[in-house]
Assembly symmetry: C2
C-alpha cells in the first residue's frame, strides 16, 4: 500500500495528546478517522515523529500513514483537511514516503519552542498557548544555565517517571533562551527527547530566571541524575513541536 508522510499543525488544547487513549479524543484518532475515508473505511495506523502530550501544540509534526488508494499527495492533503474538520488539526503538506521511511525512527533532528508570557497581567489572546509567569524572569541567566546542558549526557534528572525509553542518554544540540518583549522563548533541538524532557528543563531554568537558584544549578541537577532534585515540570500549553528533520528530504506537496 502507498505510504504517505503528513506535515501537521494542531492546537493541543482539546486533545488528550497525540496518542490514542480511552480517556478522550487524540490527534492520532482524528487523523486515522479522516484517513479511513481514503482507505475503504478502515482506519490506518498513524505513526508520529513525536508523541506530544495533552495540551502540547504542533506546527511541524510529521506523521506517516499507509492507505489503499494510490493518490497524488496534494489529493491526500486536501481530502484529510476536509475530513478532519472541525477539529483544529490541519495537514499543511503531504509527501510520498520513500521506501524504508519511518516518521519516528528516520528523524535526525526535532525542534520544540516553549513560550513563557512574563508579565503581571494574565494572558487573553494567548490563553492556552503560553505559560504565564508573573514575576520577572532573567532570560540571560536562563540562557547561560541552559548552555551547560548541551551535548551528550544521561538526562535521567529531566525525565518523566513514566518515560519508557531504554536509555536516558540523549544529545542536546540547542537550548537557547531569549526575551522578545513580554515573552521569554526557549528553543530546544535534539535528535530525540525523553518524555517531559523539554518541560522539565524549562521548569528548572525558570527557577534560575526567578533568582531562586544559581546559574550552575541546572547542570548540577543533570549530574545528580535524580528527577526529584529538578524544578517542577512546566505546563504543557507553552510547548509547540516546531519541526522534524530527516536525512533524506521529503518532497512535500
Amino acid at each position: 500500500m502507498p505510504a504517505y508522510a503528513l506535515l501537521l499543525e494542531y492546537d493541543g488544547a482539546p486533545f488528550v495528546g497525540w496518542q490514542r487513549q480511552a480517556s478522550g479524543l487524540s490527534v492520532q484518532e482524528v487523523i486515522e478517522t479522516a484517513a479511513a475515508k481514503l482507505n475503504r473505511g478502515t482506519p490506518p495506523v498513524a505513526v508520529a515523529a513525536g508523541r506530544t502530550d495533552a495540551g502540547v501544540h504542533a506546527e511541524g509534526q510529521v506523521a506517516q500513514i499507509e492507505i489503499a488508494a494510490d493518490l497524488p499527495p496534494e489529493r491526500v492533503r486536501e481530502a484529510l483537511n476536509f475530513h478532519t474538520r472541525p477539529h483544529p488539526v490541519a495537514v499543511l503538506r503531504a509527501a510520498r514516503a520513500p521506501e524504508g521511511f519511518s516518521a519516528r525512527f528516520s528523524a535526525t533532528l526535532r525542534g520544540y519552542r516553549y513560550r513563557i508570557l512574563n508579565r503581571p497581567a494574565r494572558p487573553a489572546l494567548d490563553l492556552g498557548r503560553v505559560w504565564h509567569v508573573q514575576q520577572p524572569l532573567d532570560a540571560e541567566a536562563m540562557h547561560a544555565a541552559a548552555q551547560a546542558l548541551l551535548g551528550r549526557h544521561d538526562f535521567s534528572a529531566y525525565r518523566a517517571a513514566a518515560c519508557q525509553a531504554k536509555t536516558a542518554l540523549r544529545t542536546l544540540d540547542r537550548l537557547s533562551v531569549s526575551r522578545l518583549g513580554e515573552e521569554v522563548v526557549v528553543q530546544a533541538e535534539a535528535r530525540s527527547f525523553l518524555h517531559h524532557q523539554v518541560r522539565n528543563m524549562v521548569g528548572t531554568l525558570a527557577q534560575v530566571g526567578l533568582g531562586r537558584r544559581p546559574v550552575s544549578w541546572p547542570r548540577a541537577v543533570l549530574d545528580g541524575r535524580d528527577r526529584t532534585r529538578a524544578g517542577p515540570t512546566a505546563p504543557p500549553e507553552g510547548l509547540t513541536f516546531t519541526f522534524v528533520r530527516y536525512a533524506e528530504p521529503l518532497d512535500w506537496r
Copy 2:
C-alpha cells in the same frame, strides 16, 4: 470620582463585540461587571477608544471608567484582572485619567492589524485569528493599490450601511500590505475609522490580490463613493485593534 484609563487585551471570539447588547456577552459588560466590585457594587460605564465588532480582537484597546474607590492604578489593574476571570479579557496596564481625558475623543491615532492566512491548508493554531484565503494573493499589488487610498477622503464607499458617523470624511495615514511567509498582513492607521472601514478596505484589496481587479480599482471605488461597488467585507476574526495614541501620554502602570 477618580477616572482611570485601562489598556486592554481580549480575544473577540466569545463576545458580541465591545458594546453591550441584549443578544450576548460584550467586553464592555465584562469590564463593567468586574469594576462594580471596586465601586460599591454599581457597575460604572466603560467608554472605549474603539467599539470593536463581534469576533474582532484587541491587544491595545483603551477604555475609561470612573470608580468610587481612590486606588493606585496597579491595584485597579490587579483587581480587574482577578474579577474578569475566566473571560479572555486582560487589563495590561492602568493609569489615572487626566482631567478632561476621553478614551474615545482624545485619541489622535488608532492602529489595526488584519491577518490573512494565505495557504491551501485551513488554520489550526490560528483558527479564529485569521481570514483564510486559499488562492495565492499578490501582496505587492495589494500594497500598491492601498497607497492610492491614503490621505483625506470621503470614505462612503468603505462604510457599513449601519455606520452612524455624521461625516464619512476620514484621513487615512497608513495602509500597508506585506507578506510574512504564509501570512499577508495589512496595517491601518488613522485618527478614526468608519464602521467596517478596515474590513471593507481589506476585502476590496483582496480582490486585487487575487487578480480579479486591477491595482487602480480600490481608488476608483473610493472616488465612486458607492458601498455597493466595493469588495465584500473581510471577516472579523482577522482583525486586531493594536494601539491608540493620545496627544498627552498616559502614565501606565
